[in-house]
């Protein structure tokens, strides 16, 4: 499915000017028109207030404030951008990093080298498959797959399971 991305604002936070150019070129190729860029997490946070982005694409390893720190600051229920879809781009390939990214609350993880197809799939996914958020004592972010599967069971099953530990609340 092809989407008209012209109405969306992307914030791209990446310390490498070349990688910023590569990702910007791909996004423009997809039809995105408004792409704001920042070169580290600190200026990325400033740019969020200024640009009011719809989708955040950020690198993991950056100087000053890295991508993981930035996600931790954003994924707080009181942050005005708490629910923003985050696509984390990384050259890390270790499983431990994938687990860490999930714990941070990113929507999508995109491993470098980046292809246009992989980036488009991630962008489409955060638009077409919006996810509920989960809040626990230790986590605030998009529902992990295991919980989404359980939600489907509740919604699809006759009467659901009254023993499930769940409460629903509107976004605050």
């Amino acid at each position: 499915m092809s989407l008209d991305l012209a109405s969306l604002t992307f914030l791209l936070v990446e310390d490498s000017a070349y990688m910023r150019t590569i990702i910007r070129t791909m996004l423009q190729g997809f039809g995105a028109r408004r792409i704001v860029e920042a070169e580290d997490g600190a200026s990325g946070l400033e740019a969020m207030d200024r640009a009011n982005p719809d989708i955040l694409i950020l690198d993991w390893v950056m100087p000053i404030l890295d991508g993981a720190d930035m996600v931790r600051m954003i994924r707080s229920p009181n942050n005005p951008f708490a629910y923003i879809p985050i696509i984390m781009v990384t050259a890390h390939t270790e499983r431990s990093r994938i687990v860490e990214a999930r714990r941070l609350g990113v929507h999508e993880l995109l491993s470098k080298p980046i292809s246009a197809k992989a980036l488009y799939q991630r962008v489409s996914s955060v638009i077409l498959q919006p996810r509920d958020f989960i809040k626990t004592g230790t986590y605030f972010g998009p529902a992990p797959r295991e919980i989404r599967n359980r939600q489907k069971i509740w919604q699809g099953g006759p009467g659901g399971n009254p023993d499930e530990k769940k409460s629903e609340a509107p976004a605050g």
């Binding site: 310390d15 039809g31 246009a116 996810r131 986590y139 992990p144 629903e168 605050g172």
Partner: protein, 173 residues
């Protein structure tokens, strides 16, 4: 909590995000889709950009060299190693896109060594410097991929050094 599942065995609250992007984005119709494929358009734009890639790769290698110069001047410490790691990590992530996969492998070995070493700042400076020298040499000589026997030898040598250093550290544990 399960190892990699936030909220898996805790009480949790489900929250509907206040707005979704679906309402802001229009799906292209069949006539538009017939004229415009977003992935092909992006790939064509990347092709037009690719004339810059050799120059970018050289500049990334220069940046690594500048970061390493600070190590040579001030010694290998956590502070001087960090910019070297960041430069190598950028190369690891970009080299394939820029057409230098073998250089990406060398940078990945360096990043793996730093990530896995108990204290990377305690590694022998001269040996760590070999990774930087190899990456810079491969870029300078255009040793892009498996068609370069010299580049392959360098990467093989770095892989052996990485393995030896990390095994020696694990024996000390």
């Amino acid at each position: 909590m399960a190892a990699d599942t936030p909220g898996d065995d805790e009480d949790y609250e489900v929250i509907k995000p206040p707005q979704t992007l679906r309402s802001k984005v229009r799906e292209l119709g069949p006539r538009e889709t017939a004229k415009f494929n977003p992935i092909e358009a992006a790939e064509a734009a990347m092709q037009r950009l690719s004339g810059n890639f050799d120059g970018w790769m050289r500049k990334e290698a220069d940046e690594l060299g500048s970061a390493w110069q600070a190590v040579e001047e001030n010694g290998l410490t956590a502070e001087t190693l960090d910019p070297v790691y960041q430069a190598a990590h950028n190369i690891k992530g970009q080299a394939v896109t820029l057409g230098y996969p073998l250089v990406g492998q060398a940078a990945a070995l360096f990043c793996h060594l730093v990530d896995c070493a108990q204290d990377a700042a305690q590694l022998p400076t001269e040996i760590v410097g070999r990774y930087v020298a190899a990456i810079r040499a491969m870029v300078a000589e255009g040793a892009r991929d498996e068609t370069s026997p010299a580049g392959q030898q360098l990467v093989q040598g770095l892989a052996e050094i990485t393995d030896t250093l990390l095994k020696a550290q694990s024996k000390k544990k």
